[in-house]
Amino acid sequence: MGTWTDNCRQQVENILSGDSRQFASLVDAHQRLVNHIVFKFVPCEADREDLCQEVFLKVYQHLSRFQHKSKLSTWIARIAYNSCLNFLDKKRLPLFEDTVSDDRTVDDCMAVTIKPDKWVESRQTSIRLCEEIDKLPVRYGLILSLYHLQEMSYTEIGAVLGLPEGTVKSYLFRARRLLRERLKISFAQEELCA
């Protein structure tokens, strides 16, 4: 951990002193993260690429303000998230909210109790899951990505989105519960049709 932090600090210092190759490696290392975030907000591919570029240009411009109080990836993710919000503001696109209560038991959650055998192994599952994730409110999808694909902690996700840890947890759990319910419904319908 210490070595990793030292390397990060060194990389930032090198970039600040004008080492552009170090910045190129920073872009390589973080473009997947930035793309994950931007992908959730921006449907148009061309806009997405432009926005990703804009994010890294902001990272470059503001890198001297990075104080190593968080991980560099968290800081970059926050810039990406805020850039997306600015983008939506400019385009006057709304950002969702969802209202599902939190205190249901697992039994209550399963209005659909059918458990199709080996649903994980279905060839269609992955595609269907992606479709269902896309249908979720943007922030839910983003939290799922950051947690499962970027392996960020609740705290780090909270820092990116500017939300308390408890809210992040709540959104993450809701997102997974919605996905679980919707996938089950989807498979149940498929079985009925078959």
């Binding site: 600040l16 002193s17 552009s20 910045f23 190129a24 872009v27 997947r32 793309n35 992908f39 591919e45 690429e49 990703c52 570029q53 890294f56 240009l57 902001k58 470059y60 411009q61 503001h62 001297s64 303000r65 104080q67 109080k69 968080s70 968290t74 800081w75 926050r78 810039i79 805020n82 919000l85 600015n86 939190d102 205190d103 249901r104 038991t105 697992v106 039994d107 959650c109 399963m110 458990k115 992955s126 899951l129 992606c130 994730i133 799922l144 499962h148 694909l149 902690s153 705290t155 780090e156 820092a159 947890k169 993450l172 759990f173 997974r176 519960r177 996905l179 679980r180 996938l183 089950k184």
Partner: protein
């Protein structure tokens, strides 16, 4: 051992803790015992574990090849560090300028005109703040270089009522705040 089902929140929280190795032994034993006897919660736990694996296997479209090169070609020619010094130069100079402006103008007006004077000061303070580095604007700025005059204004300020001083300080604080805010454009900050 608990009798009812676990809440969805409890179950997912437990599974996340297990996944990230941050579970407590006491909770672990309690939940494991419950899962052994409760098929509903066990099934839900299995579903969530499967769901997690499936999300992790989800494909995400990648950026087109050559993305890094395109970013690099758009970088400004200046180092990020030099831009940083410029911002901080503005940040340091602006409040100082605002303070000088206030010192030179506050209490030059009779009491009834103090509010107007303060507004006037703020206008000039803001003008100076916005154009700190635009040197040609300085000659037209009504600042006297006479140190004796500055001292007399200082003594006037300190001898004036507490309210006057307080208002002046609040104005300075506001200007300082505005300056710092201005340095954090596009909600970019290192806030964690």
């Amino acid at each position: 051992m608990r009798i009812g089902h676990m809440t969805d929140h409890e179950l997912q929280g437990y599974l996340d803790q297990m996944k990230r190795d941050s579970w407590k032994m006491s909770d672990h034993l309690l939940v494991e015992k419950h899962l052994q006897v409760c098929s509903v919660c066990r099934e839900a736990a299995e579903d969530y574990e499967d769901l997690g694996s499936m999300i992790e296997a989800c494909p995400i479209p990648s950026l087109s090849p050559g993305f890094t090169n395109r970013v690099m070609s758009k970088l400004p020619r200046t180092n990020p560090a030099s831009e940083y010094s410029y911002h901080w130069l503005v940040a340091v100079l602006s409040p100082i300028a605002a303070v000088i402006t206030l010192l030179l103008r506050v209490d030059m007006q009779p009491l009834w005109g103090r509010a107007v004077a303060l507004a006037f000061n703020q206008f000039y303070g803001l003008k100076l703040w916005l154009g700190t580095l635009s040197i040609p604007a300085f000659p037209s700025f009504p600042v006297s270089p006479d140190l004796g005059f500055l001292q007399s204004q200082l003594s006037l300020l300190t001898e004036s009522s507490g309210t006057g001083v307080l208002i002046s300080l609040v104005c300075v604080a506001l200007l300082l705040f505005a300056t710092i805010e201005n340095l954090v454009p596009d909600r970019v900050n290192d806030r964690t």
